[in-house]
Structures are given as C-alpha cells and as structure tokens.
C-alpha cells in the first residue's frame, strides 16, 4: 500500500515535472539567444490552455486541430511579445533589468485578457490527446495524459540537443547571446535570431500547453505560478543546460508530490520555495549546472 502510494505520487510528480521542464526549456532557448529571461512564458502557456479549452470543450474539434490552433496562437503571442516588450531592450543593450519589467507587464496583460475571456465559467476538465484512460502497471494506475507529458518533454529535449549541437543555425543561436557584436560581424543577423528564438520558445510552450491542459483543466489563472515554477526548475537544474532544465523540472515535480505525501498535504508550493532556497544556498549554479550565470 505504501509502495503504491509512493509510486502513484512519483508518476504524478514526473508528469507535472515534465511541464515545468518544458517551460524551463523554453526559457533556456530564449536566454541562449537573447540573454533575456521571459517571465511571461507561463502566461503564454495559459493562453494555450485557453485555446485548448475552446477547441476541445466548447467546439469539440479534433485534437490535432486543437494542437495546431494552440501552436498558432502561442507562437503569434510570442512574436508580438518579442516586438513590443523585448526588442526595444535588445536595441539598447547595457545596464538594467528593464526587459524584466516589460515581460512581467506583458504577462499581466495576457493574464487579465485571458481571465476576462474565460469569465466566471467554472473550471472544467479538458480531454487528453490519448483519451482519459489509465492503465495499470504493477498495481499503480497511470493516466495516459501523464505519459504524454513525459514523452513530449523527452522528445523536445532531444530535438533541442540535436538542433544546438548539429546544426549551423543552432550554433549561431548560442553565439548571439555570448556576444551580439561578434555575431553581427560574422554575418549573423541578431534580430532575426532573437525572433527565431521566440518562435522556437513559443513552439515549446505551445506543446507544454497541449499536454498540461488535461492535467490542470481549464484554470487560466495559474500562468504566473507555472512560469515561476519553470524558473525554479531551471535554478535547481542549473542555468544554460538543457538536461539541467529537464532534471530540475522532474525533481521539482516529484519533490512537490513527496512533500504532499510525507510531510503535509496542501502545501506543495512551500516545497518548491524551500528547495530553491536550499539549492541556491548550497550550489548557486544549480545541481547539474557547471558555469555560473553571467552577471545581468
């Protein structure tokens, strides 16, 4: 019994952790090319959840249409954000965290618009792409939506690794963050690269929205929460490393569930706070990170 409880919590933790990992991956894609940390990522994901609610619950469209619609909306929002909130700061590099305030403001706007669109409707479940079934492994019921989240996250991570290591464009995208001027001298258009980074990050976030919708249902008020937890996944795992993002996300997801199970239920958010404070105190560069974060 105790083992079953543990395994059930573990599975749930890995699934939610996969979503944190996906958000952390999109942060990393952006940071690699723009040196900007986009706090609106969580709310972009929630915009995707809203789209998924309309497509699947209201209009009963097929899953693949929903997926395409989510991708279209999230990537479009991501590009709008790049244009209005980020590019003004890329043009005048230098001191300050003005971009941080701008992305936070953008996040606030998305959140308010989304909650106004959603209105007072009660939170309803959203059907998953693989159905809402569960299957049993050694007495533990595993929901298919959990499996989907995990698989998507692994696939995205591997795809990004290959992209960064094997392709010229991937290398260029990392080079821009290191030094925009040098990149420009080598014929890399920094603005185009940063736009591309926003497209890729939007894509990753859209996938996160697609897999998270069946898990969180149609609650569109938790964008900032997911955005911040994605950051905590990143801080725990280590900045800049794709594997660190994923491991940090999984660790955070599992830690939350274990805290609920063994310490005290309902306070899993406290687990995240304590975990990140301890990790930063002991290993500021994160558990799997090697290089220190560059001074911002």
């Amino acid at each position: 019994m105790a083992v079953t409880l543990f395994l059930t919590a573990l599975v749930a933790g890995l699934a939610v952790g996969s979503v944190y990992g996906l958000i952390a991956l999109s942060y990393t894609v952006l940071f690699n090319s723009t040196s900007i940390f986009n706090i609106a990522q969580g709310d972009l994901m929630m915009a995707g959840v809203l789209v998924s609610y309309f497509c699947l619950d209201r209009w009963h469209l097929p899953q693949i249409v929903a997926l395409l619609a989510i991708i279209a909306v999230v990537v479009a929002l991501s590009l709008i954000e790049e244009r209005v909130a980020v590019r003004p700061f890329l043009r005048k590099p230098g001191i300050g965290l003005g971009w941080f305030i701008a992305t936070l403001a953008f996040s606030l706007v998305i959140e308010t618009v989304a909650s106004n669109i959603y209105g007072q409707n009660p939170v309803v479940p959203i059907p998953g792409a693989l159905g809402d079934g569960t299957f049993s492994v050694a007495g533990v019921h595993v929901a298919t939506k959990f499996i989907l989240a995990f698989v998507v996250m692994i696939v995205v991570m591997v795809a990004l690794e290959i992209f960064y290591r094997r392709t010229w464009l991937g290398t260029a995208m990392r080079g821009v963050a290191e030094d925009r001027e040098v990149a420009a001298l080598r014929g890399i258009d920094a603005l185009r690269i940063s736009r591309l980074a926003f497209v890729i990050a939007g894509l990753v976030t859209a996938l996160a929205a697609f897999v998270v919708a069946p898990i969180v249902s149609s609650d569109v008020t938790v964008g900032l929460t997911y955005g911040l937890k994605g950051f905590i996944a990143l801080a725990i795992g280590g900045f800049g490393s794709l594997r660190g993002c994923v491991l940090g996300g999984l660790l955070l997801g599992v830690a939350e569930q274990m805290f609920d199970l063994y310490v005290t239920s309902n306070y899993e958010i406290l687990a995240a706070l304590i975990l990140v404070l301890i990790v930063l105190a002991v290993r500021p560069s994160g558990l799997f990170g090697t290089r220190a974060v560059r001074e911002v």
Binding site: V113, L277, L280
Partner: protein, 644 residues
C-alpha cells in the same frame, strides 16, 4: 541633484520647488476633509498609506540599490502576520508602535531568508525567487488554520482588544509615519550607505574598485527595505484590524512595481506619487478592477520602454523649462573660482577647456605655461607596508587564447611603470587580474609579501590599489562631486547608521568626505563641473573625474587603463603632471597607454606586452635603443626617435 548649486542660491524660483511638496503634504493631511471622513473611508485611505510605505521600501532596494526584490509583498505579509498573531495572543499590551516593531523584525528576517541565498546569483534570480515567495506565502496561509486560513484573522473579534487610536487622529498619525519613512529614505540615500547603493547599482566593478563589498551591500539594501516593508505590515494590521491571504496577492506586488516605475524609481517622491496613483485607482475604482491588469500592464510596458526614469523625471525637465528647478548642465556660479585658482593654480585655466559647456574653442595658448602646484597625495590606504606591487608568472587563458602568459612585473612605490603593447596584447587583462575581476590560472600577485590573488575584488582596493577603467565608469545620474565622495568614504570611516541618522560623528564624517572630494576635484581644475550630472560631461572630463575618484582613495598604487584616450592636449598635460605628482607623493603608478611618447617621457620603467607575453622590460632609454620592439610593436624599421 544640484544641491550645491541651490545652496548657493542658484536656480531661480527656488521657493516654488519647496512649495510643491509642501502643498502635497498639506493635501495629504486634509484628504479626509475633502473626500469624506467616515470610519470606512478613513480605513481605505490608511490602507493605501500603508502600501505607500512598502513603495518607499521597494524604492530603497530597487530604485537606489538596483536589487529587484519584486516580491517585497511577501515580506509585508509575514510582517503583518507576525503583528496580528502577537496581538491575537496578547490583546492588551500591543499598540501601533509595537505592531510596527514586530512587523519590522519579522519582515527583516523574512527578507534575509530570501536575500541570503538569492543574492548568491543576483540579477533577476532575486526578482524571481522573491516573486515566488510573494506567491507562495498567501497560498500557504490560505490553508493554514493557525493564521486563519482563507478568512484571515480579524482583530475586532479578539476579546479584550481595543485600539487606543482611531478616527482622524489615527489618520494623521499614519500620514506622519509615511512622511517619516520618506524622510528616512532621503536621509539614507544621502548618506554613505546610500552612496554605496548607487555605486553598486551603477556597476559592480566600479563599486568594488572603491572597496565596496558587493554582497554585503546588496544584503543591506534588502535588509533595510524588508524592515520597512515589515513595519508597513504593522501599520496595515493596526488600521485595518485584520489580515487575510487576499491582503497581499502576487498581483499586488506587480501593482507596487508599476507604481514605482511609473512614478520614477531612484527619486524620493516618484514612487510615492506613482504608488498613490496606481494604488488609489485600484482602491477607489473597483468597478474597473477587472480590467485594471490590462491598463496597468500596458502603462508599465510603455514606461519601461519610453520613460524608464518615470513621470517625475519628466516633471523635472518641465520644471527646468519653467525655471522652477535649477537647470542641469550649467556649473556653479563664479563665486567658486577664486578658491579654485588659489588651490589649483594654473590648473584652473585647464578647467576652462575641461568644462564642456563653456569651452567655446580649443585655445591651446592657455596651457603654454603650466605653473601648477599640485598638493602631495601621500598614500593613506596601505601606507603601513613599504613593499612593491609584484606580479609574478601571471597567466590567464580564455578558452584557447592565453591572454596573459607568464608575465612578471613590479610596480615600485614612487615610480611610474608604463605598460604598452598593441590592442589585444593582454594589458587590460593584466589590470583586471590585479583587480581580481579575473582570477589567475597560475602565478602570484602581492604587495610586498601580502598575497592579493586569493582575496575578493573589494579587498584589493582596501589594500591600497585604486584604478580607472578603459571606458570611464561613473554614476551618470550623480554629479561629479557625488561621484568622488564614495571613494573618500572608504577611508574616513564611521558607522553607516551614524551617517544615516546624522549623529555628530556621522555629520562630521559626511562633511569631511564632501570637503575632501571637493578639494581633489578643484585641484584637478574641475570646479566648473562639481554640480553637473556626470551624464552631461564630455569624455575627457569624465576621465578626469574618474582620475579624481582614484586619487580620492589616497591609495598606495594607482592602475590607469588608457587614461589619455580622448583627452585634449591640455588635459593630456594635466594627466602627465598628475602621474608625476602621484609618484612624487610616494604612490606607485601603473600606466597603460597607447600614447607611447607620453609614456616614454614620464615612466621610470616600461613593460611591453605582445600577444600576452613580455616582449621587453626596461627603462625608456633602453626601449628607444631596442630595434626589435620598435619593429614588432610599432612596425618601424628604425629605433624610435627621441622626442625633442
């Protein structure tokens, strides 16, 4: 900013400058007479007022200190919970003052719990971790019966609790507390502690180069603002008689930020005005609350991009046009000039050229007779030792490039050591190795027998090594004088608290720092620009101000990174004399320069670097005779000519 100017009665309709804040203060006190004084209304006003105290706190850490503790509402919440719990269990003994103090202590502890780990990385980590705390604390409180869960703790339901203050008296007291907090923030930012905050905000390298400990100073900024935000929690609890998770949601943190940015962070009254606008709209236009997020979000975005210094900065510009504020960009009146002439001698003449606005033409004739008498600047910091600054076998690689490769160098006290070499030969890297901005891969750096290479960067300045930067690092929103003062303050010591609270020793030391900074600037002929914002100074003058800051440390060694670049011939001459005077005073000077004739004319020893390695070391005479250096470094086929 131009405090000196206004003290000298410069700047037109000064009375108007004081009339506006005075009018605002009066309005604040009579708001109940204007907008209704029912108990409910007063409570609403007092709620906004307690939020303004948080705005003041946020401004200290973020506007001045540059530390983005966005989730300061978390600190406010724990302070408030502390105050309300204490009152719940001791309903008799606890009044407004006790609540503020309990809130302050608990808030301070809370701020440290967030700040200590988050600052190890710094930058936006602090913003995100604190924002997460602002999210987590109400979420946890919502489910925790001990703190009243979702409904919170109402004090009016606590048996035996009866607040002594209420009605308009309470309102007046709360307004006074807000003004007190504002006054405190003014005293803080105009003290040695505030100077350190601004220096650190400008550039961590600049701050450490004048001996400021970065981590401790950041922590102090966060600590002070947390104490204030916690005290705001006490005011909230006393005036509202309850506290619930909904009292400090994470969106509230964003509202506060919006208020500060829109009003203008880094000014005393900006956050108050912005906070009053944003929080007031949020409080009193509840029917629009649903859409507030959109309005505030868009406003915040627009301000962050187009008016990063906020409304108040705009108003100041407007004030200048209307003649209310003294204009920036003009110097102090001529009353100063005689003093300057007396101390600076002909250096004052140089100032005519150094000062940008007045310098209508080059007028080189003025500099023809340099009869300067620069006063001696004997070392104060690190003067106890008599050892030289020694670099031994220094090596540092970046990736595959070895920027500095096995370099030996000795800077003796009282001598000028020139360091030349083409671009990319490792000169600045070597300087940054000495400053500990980079760490050595191999080798040693020491003064006498005291190792420096295992010490943190601020300890290098405290060991008596001052430096300048290749592109001058100045606090651009401060005046030239204010840029030099923090350097003096490293050696005229007193407790930060004495300086903030203007205790006798604090006042004396504040004055002394100001006077010494003034004297050094005047000596360098910069009396024209004392009260000018650094951002309005031309390149050459900025270099001289930076030089003044380095001298103000009264160091044993000075490292100058291409100080001559961009200087006019007159300024160049002054620079050479300053170097020689430093050496005469017993200071060791390491001079990185591309201006080879100048180096050869004043240096005692010259080192030439080439691709990270030492190509030559010896006296200027030996260098002139050395054909290989001339050919490699200068691309000449013949030895350098001796300058006539």
């Amino acid at each position: 900013m131009s405090e000196l100017a206004s003290r000298l009665g410069f700047g037109g309709r000064t009375w108007l400058r004081w009339a506006i804040p005075a009018a605002l203060i009066i309005v604040l006190y009579i708001v109940p007479q204007l907008g209704g004084s029912s108990q409910f209304r007063l409570g609403e006003y007092e709620e906004v007022l307690s939020f303004l105290v948080i705005a003041v706190a946020l401004n200290i850490a973020m506007g001045y200190g540059g530390q983005y503790i966005l989730g300061i509402t978390a600190v406010f919440a724990v302070g408030a919970y502390g105050a309300i719990l204490a009152t719940k269990y001791h309903p008799q003994g606890i009044g407004l003052l006790a609540m503020c103090m309990i809130g302050a202590v608990i808030g301070g502890v809370g701020g440290m719990i967030i700040g200590l780990p988050a600052l190890r990385v710094g930058g936006f980590y602090l913003a995100l971790v604190s924002l997460f705390a602002a999210l987590a604390i109400p979420t946890v409180a919502q489910k925790w019966a001990f703190v009243g869960a979702d409904t919170g703790i109402p004090l009016y339901a606590v048996l035996g609790y009866s607040p002594k203050l209420s009605g308009e008296l309470l309102y007046v007291i709360v307004v006074s507390l807000v003004l007190l907090a504002t006054l405190f923030s003014w005293a803080l930012v105009h003290s040695r502690v505030g100077h350190r905050f601004v220096a650190l905000h400008t550039s961590e390298q600049l701050a450490t180069s004048i001996g400021i400990t970065a981590y401790r100073t950041k922590l102090l900024a966060i600590g002070i603002s947390s104490v204030l935000a916690g005290a705001a929690g006490g005011i909230y609890v006393y005036t509202q008689q309850f506290f619930a998770p909904g009292s400090s949601s994470v969106n509230f943190a964003v509202l506060l930020l919006a208020g500060m940015v829109i009003g203008g962070g880094g000014s005393i009254t900006g956050p108050l005005i912005g906070g009053a606008i944003i929080l007031g709209i949020n409080q009193f236009f509840t029917s629009l609350q649903q859409y507030n997020g959109i309005v505030f979000g868009v406003l915040l975005l627009l301000f962050a991009i187009f008016l990063p210094n906020g409304l108040l900065a705009r108003l100041n510009v407007l004030g200048e046009r209307l003649g209310i504020n003294p204009p920036r960009g003009f110097g102090v009146p001529g009353g100063r000039a005689p003093t300057a002439a007396a101390t600076g001698g002909a250096a004052a003449a140089v100032a005519a050229l150094a000062a940008p606005v007045n310098g209508s033409g080059p007028g080189t004739g003025l500099a023809a007779q340099p009869a300067r008498q620069l006063p001696a600047w004997p070392p104060v910091i690190g003067a106890g030792d008599s050892g030289a600054l020694v670099v031994e076998g220094a090596r540092r690689a970046f990736g595959g490039v070895t920027a500095v490769d096995n370099v030996d160098l000795t800077v003796k006290r009282g001598q000028i050591h020139g360091l030349i070499g083409s671009n990319g030969s490792g000169k600045t890297t070597l300087l940054n190795l000495i400053s500990r901005f980079y760490s050595l891969d191999a080798g040693q750096i020491r003064i006498g027998s005291v190792r420096l290479d295992d010490k943190p960067p601020h300890a290098v300045a405290r060991a008596g090594i001052a430096r300048t930067f290749q592109s001058p690092k100045l606090m651009l929103r401060e005046t030239a004088l204010e840029n030099v003062i923090p350097a003096v303050e490293l050696r005229v010591r007193c407790l930060g608290l004495e300086s903030v609270l203007r205790l006798p020793r604090g006042i004396r030391v504040n004055r002394q720092a100001r006077a010494e900074a003034l004297e050094i600037l005047e000596t360098l002929g910069l009396h024209h620009v004392l009260a000018q914002e650094a951002s309005s100074l031309p390149h050459g003058t900025r270099r001289l101000v930076e030089l003044a800051r380095a001298i103000a440390l009264r160091p044993s060694f000075v490292l100058l990174d291409e100080p001559a670049a961009g200087l006019s011939p007159v300024e160049l001459e002054l620079l050479a004399e300053v170097c020689q005077n430093l050496a005469r005073s017993g200071v060791g000077v390491l001079l990185i320069e591309h201006n080879v004739p100048m180096v050869l004319s004043i240096a005692d020893t010259v080192t030439c670097l080439h691709q990270g390695k030492t190509l030559f070391q010896g006296t200027p005479e030996e260098l002139r005779a050395n054909t290989s250096v001339a050919s490699v470094f200068l691309g000449l086929d013949e030895p350098l000519e001796t300058p006539s």
